[in-house]
């Protein structure tokens, strides 16, 4: 039965469920224990499972993520929380050079059931060092999987799946999603972890997006609808692998593609999405595909500039309108 809850609560439930079911699952990260996590995701778990299963760490991202790698080699299932993705830059060696390389370099001898949970994206005036979007950096790493849950339901499904997986997985959350609400059905069977989800059907164009930009795109789609343009909105839910088929099926109907991303466009996630879909849909497209992304600027602290730096509903409406200009002419 579905229940309305916050995104953070869905993650919290998933952690609880997995920790109850399997003693080898443990959490570690800064303030995940006594404090309950910066965004409440691990609330109550320290009291229930104790300090060996919910470990407050020093500020040592490189080494506690590496510790997760080491524990995973012995079959433990670490869920490492990196407070925000900005600090994951310090853990890239563990993620990229260790987690994804050891199973390969050893000729397939080791499991790597490591989950790294971390929020990325632009929140509210946290300035340049705390507003980074690094999905593109992680996308270029063979052997790494990246889930980007955009709704509480997906957060529930995908974190459960990530913990059960024997491969290293990044669960990329978003600071502005933790307190978003949605229905979560904990009983219904989950779709495959990396399957995209069509949130809205429309015949005129396909908007492909992920994470918080889903909400923004859905708002834009409503405004577009009022103008007579009907958009399909697809949430990728995963950035590696990418569910190309779901996107292609939609483009077969709409013949127009707009990719909306929160990172900068140059070599960003959208570059891969557009490239992959251009290869698959070149002859299906009526117009060159379009990317709408953040500006090629670090995020300014100033609130007005910050808001102008990433796609807003009005930007999406403008880009989509532009893309559909020729609709009536054909």
């Amino acid at each position: 039965m579905a229940e309305e809850m916050f995104y953070w609560q869905a993650l919290n439930r998933a952690l609880y469920q997995q920790m109850e079911a399997d003693d080898s699952v443990f959490l570690l990260g800064e303030d995940v224990g006594l404090y309950g996590g910066s965004y409440r995701v691990s609330e109550g778990l320290y009291a229930r499972f104790g300090e060996w299963r919910v470990r407050d760490t020093p500020i040592s991202e490189g080494s506690f993520t590496g510790l997760g790698v080491g524990a995973a080699l012995l079959g433990s299932r670490p869920v490492v929380e990196i407070m925000t993705i900005n600090f994951a830059l310090l853990a890239l060696d563990a993620i990229i050079n260790m987690a994804t390389k050891i199973p390969f370099m050893s000729g397939g001898q080791f499991p790597m059931p490591l989950v790294v949970r971390t929020p990325g994206g632009v929140a509210k005036q946290l300035a340049a060092q705390h507003s980074q979007r690094l999905e593109q950096t992680l996308m270029n790493v063979p052997g790494l999987r990246i889930a980007v849950p955009a709704t509480p339901q997906d957060a529930w499904w995908q974190l459960n799946q990530a913990i059960r997986s024997d491969e290293p997985i990044i669960v990329l959350e978003h600071e502005l999603l933790y307190f978003s609400k949605g229905e979560v059905d904990t009983q219904v069977e989950a779709p495959p972890m990396h399957r995209a989800r069509v949130h809205r059907q429309g015949a005129d164009l396909t908007i492909v997006t992920y994470s918080r930009m889903l909400q923004v795109s859905l708002q834009a789609a409503e405004q577009l609808s009022a103008q007579g343009i009907e958009a399909t909105v697809i949430d990728l839910r995963s950035l590696r692998p990418i569910d190309w088929d779901s996107c292609v099926q939609s483009i077969e109907q709409t013949h127009r593609l707009l990719v909306v991303e929160e990172d900068s466009s140059f070599a960003g996630a959208g570059a891969e999405i557009i490239a992959g879909l251009s290869e698959r849909c070149f002859y299906l497209l009526d117009e060159p595909p379009k990317r709408l992304a953040a500006r090629e600027l670090p995020i300014a602290y100033n609130g007005t500039l910050e808001a102008m730096s990433i796609p807003r509903p009005a930007d999406i409406v403008a880009a989509a309108t532009d893309l559909c200009q020729t609709k009536d002419a054909i």
Binding site: P58, I59, A127, A300, N302, G303, L305
Partner: protein, 351 residues
């Protein structure tokens, strides 16, 4: 210590407290956003250290750095304007509370990623050493930052090459919600320096006079070319980690203990207030030591309550003015932002 210096320290601490409390108020009003890390409780550290520093020293600080910036001569107007995200802020509205910079004042930044101050400071020191200047870098960091690899890596290099860095630990015993004994195997930060043969001391960071004196001594040696030193100042923050944090993980008794007994502003006021010996004290001391006692009291400084009130209203005015300045300042534009990003571009043709 002379009366002028004591008065200066006291005024700086009063301003620091008033500025930060006002920043909290402006945050609640919505004029300041993002992460706002405040300094009440810890004033004696920055005030003592930076009053002892020379004008040509460089300062590298963390995200809890408004007070440090003002002590280096960045005006409260410019700091408040930066907190408001305005163009007249010291980082022109790009950096905000955590990223104050002023090249002229040698304020080399507020850094938001824990552990960044170590290598940046070490690099500045390297450059000073290459040029053989009689200058130093003061590198601030929290107790939580010493578990970042950069702490160890930087201390090693600084010691190895004899670089002029004064590492200053603001040990407020917490890494957000994690108390020091739960984040550090060795909770005495100064002891870690011995692994790198760096002279280090632990000092009461609630006592501005001690902070001032210890810093002055350390800097004199550093200027003389004896290499890096580390000072650990034990202190306490009265507020939560940032405005987003109620700080409820700290036992109430702990918070109260520090508030009642060790408010550094209260200590500074007490030490600067006139303390004429009572008749009882004089008779207890015996006639032959009356002069001695009086001169000791004298050394503590003379300041009556009227003067104290005058100081308080002076700093209140400075803070009011800073808020008015920040409100009136324009917002930066996108063109400004682009120009700052491209500030180092010369005549290169990129395409």
């Amino acid at each position: 210590m002379d009366r002028e210096t004591q008065l200066k320290l006291l005024k700086d601490m009063l301003l620091a407290r008033a500025f930060e409390e006002r920043a909290a108020e402006e945050y609640t009003k919505g004029n300041i956003a993002g992460f706002l890390h405040l300094y009440p409780g810890e004033e004696a550290v920055a005030v003592g250290v930076l009053n002892a520093a020379g004008p040509s020293d460089y300062v590298v600080s963390t995200y809890r750095e408004h007070v440090h910036a003002m002590l280096r001569g960045i005006s409260p107007d410019q700091v408040m304007a930066e907190l408001f995200g305005k163009k007249d802020g010291c980082s022109h509205g790009m950096g905000g509370s955590m990223h104050l910079f002023d090249r002229q004042k040698r304020f080399m930044g507020g850094y938001g990623i824990v552990g960044e101050t170590f290598p940046v400071a070490t690099g500045i020191a390297y450059s000073i050493a290459m040029k053989q200047q009689p200058e130093a870098v003061i590198c601030f960091f929290g107790d939580g930052a010493v578990n970042q690899g950069t702490f160890h890596e930087s201390l090693n290099m600084a010691a190895l090459w004899g670089l002029p860095v004064l590492f200053v630990c603001e040990n407020n015993h917490y890494q957000i919600g994690t108390e020091i004994h739960r984040h550090s195997a060795v909770a005495e930060v100064y002891k870690r320096a011995c692994g790198y043969r760096i002279p280090a001391r632990r000092i009461d960071g609630m006592n501005v006079l001690e902070v001032y004196e210890a810093t002055g001594q350390a800097l004199q040696q550093i200027y003389a070319g004896t290499g890096p030193q580390l000072l650990e100042f034990e202190t306490y923050r009265f507020r939560g980690h940032s405005m987003a944090d109620p700080g409820s993980y700290r036992p109430k008794v702990e918070v109260e203990a520090f508030k009642d007994q060790e408010d550094p502003v209260a200590i500074a006021i007490r030490e600067t207030l006139p303390c004429y010996p009572s008749a009882d004290e004089i008779s207890a001391a015996g006639p032959d030591v009356i002069n001695k006692l009086c001169s000791q009291m004298d050394n503590l400084g003379h300041l009556d309550n009227r003067q104290l009130e005058a100081l308080r209203s002076e700093v209140a005015q400075i803070v009011d003015d800073a808020v008015a300045f920040a409100l009136a300042s324009p917002e930066p534009t996108l063109e400004d932002a682009q120009a700052y990003l491209d500030c180092n571009r010369q005549q290169e043709v990129l395409i």
